[in-house]
Symmetry: C2
Subunit: 472 residues, 2 copies
């Protein structure tokens, strides 16, 4: 990758540098504090997105599986595959050994072993870092077009399997010497629906001029934070990358917290060690408890999600139209951190959550991450912990609330209500139940330098903190 080549001078002129860039977190914070930037005003973003929507009209229709072009159910396994062998497949999964009321089960899962790139180009204008955001359509988003990272590319994208145009700005993330890496880490995506999917989350500061294409705009982190207060403007891929932006609190290891960093890591290691979740690939055909029709694969009780197919018609796009399968959840999720100030220091209540598709058993998730309709009718004792605290919170205690879409390239109408809710000691004691831990936002940001500690839903909420959409 580019960094090493750049920072490693030739042997003859070796120069060491500091291991840490102390200034970077301050520059990120300055951008988060900037409610306006050097270019598009925050209030103009809506109009700009509407204009981009008109420039690239799209239409998405549900279609029967039989109308999928290039996709079919494989003869023996019944897996849903593309004839190129690329993109992704929909297969079956048998899951055993999780906590919770549901024990073991079967489900469809998306398998896409390749690592994609989610990258944002960053550049300083008028002394403030700006982020190059893209107006990008994804068929599963309810409003189709949202603010996305500069680059959002699967390997199939950038090796040409889509037969589309070259991915713009990709060289900043894969080419040699086009920028300075500020963050670069593999992070998981939805472990409930993806099998061991990771994407590379990157922030790269451009060196030299950056050509601006009409589908892109420069925004400060503070502008993005203002947009994150609104429903369905900033897409999931942008949120997860922004969460990885280095914050001052990450390295500030002299800061106070309820648990030391070592204590937190030890607790997390214990959580990883005590869970034995196995997830085995099985044929999609005849998946126990699931029913396959012409237009959907769904559970016999109608819960959780279904697999469907859509056709995308593009008014003016190089790649033309296409068809693809999508996963469609059957309800809106509720995803929330409970927060408390402990002796003046803000803490979040994180949950060590098992998701069948995680590469490593457990990741830190928000306190609450459930689709309430899936739990309807369960006896009180089996209700997910803290869910009712969040659902019943008085408005004065809700510090943040907005509806955001999950990955619109794979999920259809997958929306969650994201919240920060201030909790009382009664609701959320300092010694929470097993599987929960109080952490500071800085501790979580420090963990985000490394793989697979913090799940994608928590990263959405942390992007709201990083960008100033919420202040605790």
């Amino acid at each position: 990758m580019t960094t090493i080549a750049e920072s490693a001078p030739r042997d003859a002129v070796a120069r060491l540098g500091p291991r840490r860039d102390r200034e970077l977190a301050r520059r990120i914070a300055r951008s988060a504090a900037a409610p306006e930037g050097a270019f598009l005003a925050t209030d103009e973003v809506d109009g700009w997105l509407a204009e981009r929507r008109r420039a690239h009209p799209f239409r998405v229709d549900r279609i029967p599986f039989a109308d999928l072009d290039g996709w079919s159910f494989a003869p023996e396994s019944g897996n849903l595959v593309h004839r190129s062998g690329r993109f992704f497949t929909v297969e079956g999964l048998r899951v055993t050994g999780t906590d919770g009321p549901f024990g073991s089960w079967h489900q469809p899962v998306i398998r896409q072993p390749e690592v994609g790139v989610l990258g944002i180009v960053v550049k300083e204008f008028q002394g403030v870092l700006h982020f190059l955001m893209q107006a990008k359509m994804e068929p599963g988003n309810r409003n189709l077009l949202q603010l996305s990272p500069t680059v959002q590319a699967t390997r199939s994208n950038y090796t040409g399997a889509h037969r589309g145009a070259r991915v713009r700005y990709l060289d900043y993330f894969t080419g040699p010497g086009r920028g300075r890496v500020l963050a670069d880490v593999l992070q998981s995506e939805h472990g409930a629906w993806f099998l061991r999917k990771s994407n590379r989350n990157m922030l790269v500061e451009a060196v030299g001029d950056v050509e601006l294409h009409e589908d892109f705009c420069w925004l400060t982190l503070g502008q993005i934070g203002r947009l994150l207060r609104r429903d369905n403007v900033v897409n999931m891929d942008a949120r997860t990358v922004l969460a990885c932006a280095p914050q001052a609190g990450a390295d500030d290891t002299d800061a106070a917290a309820l648990h030391s960093d070592t204590g937190l890591l030890s607790w997390f290691t214990g959580e990883r060690a005590r869970h034995d979740v196995t997830a085995e690939r099985v044929p999609l055909a005849s998946l126990p408890g699931w029913w396959q029709g012409d237009r959907s694969i769904e559970r016999e009780d109608g819960r959780y999600f279904r697999v469907v197919a859509v056709g995308v018609q593009a008014g003016s796009r190089e790649v033309g139209g296409w068809t693809q399968p999508l996963f469609e959840p059957t309800g809106t999720g509720v995803t929330a951190f409970l927060t408390r100030r402990i002796e003046g220091v803000s803490h979040l209540l994180a949950h060590a959550r098992t998701e069948a598709g995680f590469a490593d058993t457990v990741e830190l998730a928000p306190t609450v991450q459930y689709t309430p309709s899936n739990y309807a009718g369960l006896p009180e004792a089996e209700r997910p912990p803290f869910l009712d605290t969040v659902l019943g919170a008085e408005p004065s205690r809700i510090r943040y609330e907005a509806l955001h879409s999950e990955e619109g390239g794979r999920f259809l109408n997958a929306e969650s209500r994201y919240l920060f809710v201030e909790a009382t000691p009664d609701e959320a004691p300092l010694e929470p139940p097993p599987g929960y831990v109080w952490v500071t936002p800085g501790q979580l940001n420090g963990l985000l330098r490394h793989n697979h500690y913090v799940n994608v839903q928590a990263r959405t909420l942390l992007s709201c903190l990083a960008s100033g959409a919420v202040r605790l």
Copy 2:
């Protein structure tokens, strides 16, 4: 786990603490600088081990598979399994997509999905931290008995599947409130022979008196370092735990290095992303290229390793004798870091190595980690990089050299010659070939706070640095 329960006071008396224990690395360094401790003298350790060997006489014999007690080849798969369904299994693995001259292959692999505990109890005597080491027999060690961690337990051990005695001191690692955790992290074991095996590496400082059993002794880190200069005294499990001891360099992010921490992580992320290794479990029966006899499963060309069986007869042990399969390599390994001082700062040349059994594709390994006999006869261009530099190094450039055993509970006579070799700029330029990177020992120690960055062979070499067995 214990830490949280201890450090989280009741709500009524909440007290925050610093995230980092600044004193700890200094206390570890003080112990590493202590060539003698408060108890057994370093020169007496040999005698003490000999005495322990006499107290617990063991005899290990090779036996045919048919004489294994409780182990058998499963009817259809041919996998070697224990009738209890516990311990481990020997299965087949199909590996595709690695670098190197060998492309794709089949091999037997050890599958042991449970997470074990490798833990050392630490306590201060006369102002210096001492480590509670055990004289422990493992059937695969050439000299059987070596210095081991205080606790070395699979989950089968401590849940009683071995029908043996209770594991001594285990409560310090799994019970509530018996100590203060100094390090606690999941680390991989040999990815060439284990499928996704992780153990919990823990250092726990005891609170209050610790009863001393006759098979245990207290040693300073400096004493252990002196013993690490000798062949086959300190076992692999002890070495990997000691490597995780926090060093001053880990947190010293203002220190100089050739690459910033972010640059290093970005390079590593790129290495993980660019490798597509798949390892699929297949039946052990009829494994292509392997031949199964009465006493071994081995490759038709006799290379790499074979699966064998041993019987252990114990003179005086609670658990009595037992039989088990072991993996036996066909040659002695060579495992070495090339080192250079770059502008006065010591650096190691690390290799992003793929091993089929790694949980996440790639880990940082020593510069050289090969069994030379497996590469005999290959054309010059296909010789492993840097191997000949290590094999041909002048004695004055060898900063450290000793023979150590790998996991003696699973491997028979698996020895490697471990070295630190000072390289010239010609031999190891600052811009090394793809897949190699210069790092400081402090950077690697920082990564050892997290899962699966640094492989077990590199951890052996880092334990030599941590304990002062070698100074660069």
